[in-house]
Amino acid sequence: MSGNDKHQHHSGYGTYIIVWLALLAFTSITVTIAGVNLGRYTLFIALLIAAVKSGLVINIFMHIKFEEKIFKAFIALSGFTLIIIFLLTFFDYIYR
């Protein structure tokens, strides 16, 4: 199994620039919203926006959207494990 697996898909300069503009837009949203008092939802919204930005970087800049399924499975697996670790740890702190 050797050789260069040529990707059929190149994103193209245009796509990258559009994604970049979207990232800037989300950044300005998250900065603006920080000034608004959202009470209990502040952290959640900030993390949600960060997650959307990450999704764009991972899928387009890092090309995952166009890669083999196995990469997506790996990312899902690792991400899921990290989230469970957070969850289980908080079972301690929330209920102390």
Binding site: M1, S2, G3, N4, D5, H10, S11, G12, Y13, Y16, I17, V19, W20, L23, L24, T27, T30, V31, A34, G35, A46, L47, I49, A50, K53, S54, V57, I58, I60, F61, M62, H63, E67, E68, I70, F71, F74, I75, S78, G79, L82, I85, F86, T89, F90, Y93, I94
Partner: protein, 207 residues
């Protein structure tokens, strides 16, 4: 069948997908490394919400936002660099890499000013000024220095890696037909950006 070719001991095995897979696996270790730190942050923010809020006022949101924009743009330029090389445009590819590295330098310069400002206010790990503050604030700044410090270290490493790619492209060791090293370097750089995407709201946008 290339069996006899494969039997030659010095067969140089090229597997771009494998190289990319290995790189992603390495990135997972970085995610878990910073993930552990985010866990510590999460626990202490949960325990000291008001102190975190208070301590965060010491940070400059404008500089943080500027740094965010810098890193996001540097992600763009490194992606453009790879695309340029794929399309055979060696000069544009190298140009984009140079710009990426310059952005990284700008980020580190900003960071330097941020840190030195705080130092001059007497806020650094172990300082008497800091130790006088409530525990929650001590923890906040401890986390701030360690997390942005570790992130900054990764920016420096990324700069070095990108610089090596620049040299490789110049010397035609990374070419439009053989650019997985550049792709992998780009992946590393995007990770550095990703970490900052989470660091930014957690430290600069607690209002």
């Amino acid at each position: 069948m290339s069996d006899h070719q494969e039997a030659a001991v010095h067969h140089v095995h090229r597997d771009d997908l494998g190289a990319k897979m290995g790189m992603w696996l390495f990135l997972f270790t970085e995610v878990l490394l910073f993930g552990g730190m985010f866990l510590v942050y999460a626990v202490y923010r949960y325990q000291y919400p008001d102190q975190f809020h208070f301590a965060a006022m010491e940070l400059n949101t404008t500089v943080g936002t500027l740094n965010t924009i810098i890193l996001l743009t540097s992600s763009l330029t490194v992606a453009l660099s790879i695309d340029a090389l794929q399309k055979g445009n060696k000069f544009l590819s190298m140009m984009m890499l140079v710009i990426t590295i310059l952005f990284a330098v700008m980020f580190m310069v900003n960071k330097y000013f941020e840190w030195s400002t705080k130092f001059s206010h007497g806020i650094y790990p172990g300082s008497p000024e800091l130790l006088n503050k409530p525990n929650g604030q001590i923890l906040f700044f401890g986390l701030y220095y360690i997390m942005t410090g570790l992130h900054g270290l990764h920016v420096l490493i990324g700069m070095a890696v990108l610089f090596f790619m620049l040299v490789f492209i110049a010397k035609d060791k990374v070419t439009p037909d053989n650019y997985v090293k550049l792709e992998n370097s780009g992946l590393y750089w995007h990770l550095v950006d990703l970490i900052w995407i989470f660091l930014f709201p957690l430290f600069y946008l607690i209002q």
